[in-house]
């Protein structure tokens, strides 16, 4: 695998939060090293509070690592060049409730320098792709959770990104919604996009990802291909074993 194929590279990334006066510093991530390759779907697993969202935020530049290096798309994580080529769906997205679905995705597109009829057509196509044409002129405050997730996917794709970050995309969705979102992710895979996928729903990760990393209490306790991890049992067995091993260490 050449260096050009490494889309995400983390080397000994540690993150310590010091922002509570009178309280001890909190180590959220400890010496995380991993790579994600172009075109693959990488799943980051872990129980609640393991540090998955923080790791994604470091890759997006929302948070700076205390030590270590984080590279995305060949540049330091958070650089404008990198952010111009990636898409992001946050966990439990709360978007601008005063905007309609269409206005919101257009706004996101304008942040990439897009505009005019070209953007409008692109947005209409994206909303059709995620099945939101019927509600595109409704204000987001009237959307259901599933509808917000779909619009969130649309805004994450508005710039036709090379790399897509999805933070717990299935959370709160009903089975039909989860099936439809899974199909969208498979479509993105078939287009050659790299997907970085946070989740604690193992069945989704097992179905969609080629490689996974398992975080527990800020440490990367397991990392490799799904095939290797499931050689001795299910992904759930591997997950529980890795987390329990870390807990007893």
């Amino acid at each position: 695998m050449s260096a050009l194929d490494v889309i995400i590279s983390l080397q000994d990334v540690t993150k310590v939060f010091n922002n509570q006066v009178g309280q001890a510093p909190r180590t959220v991530l400890e010496q995380i090293s991993l790579e994600v390759h172009r075109g693959e779907t990488f799943g980051l697993l872990g129980p609640n509070g393991a540090g998955k969202t923080t790791l994604q935020k470091i890759l997006l530049g929302l948070v700076r690592p205390t030590s270590g290096t984080a590279m995305v798309l060949g540049t330091r994580a958070g650089e404008s060049d990198a952010r111009a080529r990636l898409g992001y769906l946050p966990e439990n997205p709360y978007f601008y409730t005063h905007l309609t679905g269409r206005e919101f995705v257009e706004f996101c597109g304008s942040l990439f320098g897009q505009g005019g009829p070209e953007l409008r057509n692109r947005v209409d196509r994206l909303l059709a792709r995620v099945g939101m044409t019927h509600a595109r002129d409704l204000q987001l405050r009237k959307y259901s959770k599933g509808m917000l997730q779909r619009v969130g996917v649309a805004q994450a794709l508005v710039n036709d990104p090379e790399l897509v970050f999805l933070d717990e995309p299935m959370s709160g969705l009903d089975p039909v919604g989860r099936r439809e979102l899974r199909e969208i992710i498979l479509e993105l895979k078939s287009e050659g996009k790299t997907i970085f996928f946070n989740s604690h729903i193992l069945s989704d990760v097992e179905a969609l990802c080629e490689r996974v990393g398992i975080l527990s209490r800020g440490k990367l306790v397991s990392y490799g291909s799904v095939r290797d991890l499931t050689r001795q049992g299910s992904l759930e067995d591997a997950f529980v074993a890795a987390v329990q091993a870390e807990a007893s260490a």
């Binding site: 709360y94 409730t97 405050r141 009237k142 959307y143 259901s144 959770k145 917000l148």
Partner: protein, 228 residues
Amino acid sequence: MVSVHPPGGTRRSRWVPELAIVSALMMLQAALVGHVHVVVRGPHAPLSLGLELAWRHVPTGFQNLLADTLWLRVLQHVGGQLGRDEPLNVTGVKQALDLAIDLDPAFHAPVEYGAWIIADGHDPAGALDFLAHARRQHPDDWLLPYHQAFIEFLYRKRYDDAARLFSLAASMPGAPPRVMNMVAGMYTKGKLKDKAIETWWGIHQANRGPLRAIAARNLRVLGVAVPD
């Protein structure tokens, strides 16, 4: 379809700033027309200032409006008494008018009418003091000593003080020549015949037309022969 409420901000919090804005506006309106004052204190209470006294020391760009509010309160307070045919109680009126012209020195109405309101309320000394305050702000306005002179004349019958003030007004820029007539008239009223004659004679010599004729007539009344 269920609306999703975002963390850290619910529908209710959107109403808080709106309620604050509407409440502030309503309070402003109430203060402007003195409703709060009337409701709390009743229509027969004297005019009294509380927090308003602090306005003098806190210029915020609303001085004009505050001065207007005070003037309207004075009018409503005095007008209400007149409307109910009550004896005029001007307690607090001078204080309100003093504050109004401190806040807005260019506000003419309180100066033009305020002194007369105070004098009508049997406080000519207060009226004179109020006009003295206005004169310190507008030292070149001939109307102010002119009004003071009338108050001395009509309310206190102090004709020599009235003559002095009319004379001062007459010497200021913009004062019309007829003001000297009042000087002479005050000397006459005060039984200062020599001074009256001297003043009328000066008016007679300095003017032509109606003023000269008036001066001639008054001189003849005082026993002075005046050629036609």
